[in-house]
Amino acid sequence: MESLLDMTGGLLLVAGAAFLLLGGLGLWRMPDLFNRIQAGAKTTTLGTILILAGTAFLHPEWGFKLLLIGLFLLFTNPLSSQVLARAAHRRGIETSPKTSVDLLADSLSEQDMPEKLPSEKTLSDKGIEEKS
């Protein structure tokens, strides 16, 4: 007969893995880059933290290291996804046709920020022209 602690830990592990699976599925199925960033970053943060919590239930003596990894992921995962999304926006990556609101572009035009950097496509076009 296994203790309640072990069963709770195992169920938390499966729940976290299910969130990771949903994140991977969203990464594969979502229509454009920004949706993929949302699907990838949020679900993997929650899924990983659930798996770390489940591991802490199974092995309470590892608690401190697991807490450290969890806190680190909690800080860095949103940061990296935000930096990626901003870089993609500055590069002028196309959004899905269903997207109707672009608040970042609106606030950038209000603040009179510098123009967007040329997108990858125009950069490669220029390269071809220079060569020819």
Partner: protein, 86 residues
């Protein structure tokens, strides 16, 4: 029972890894590959934690921590490079 749950969690994580790997291969833009790489590293961290559970070795958690640190730095560096300013 707990071993079965751990194996099931590892199976689900492996399927998630496969989906992220498909997106990494397909692209189509560089940013898609970078976000797929980000997800792949986070999924790998959970793989390391699960293998620490299966092998009953706490030292693997140190590996997971260093791996998280380095993958975060890698993603930030690539994103800043693609953004065009350092």
């Amino acid at each position: 029972m707990v071993e079965t749950l751990i194996a099931f969690a590892a199976l689900l994580t492996g399927i998630a890894f496969l989906f992220a790997l498909l997106r990494f291969i397909k692209g189509p833009s560089t940013f898609d590959r970078v976000i797929a790489f980000d997800v792949l590293t986070v999924v790998s961290i959970t793989f390391i934690v699960l293998s620490a559970l299966i092998e009953e070795r706490g030292i693997y958690l140190d590996v997971a921590l260093v791996y998280a640190l380095l993958s975060f730095l890698g993603v930030i560096a690539i994103a800043r490079y693609l953004e065009g300013r350092f």
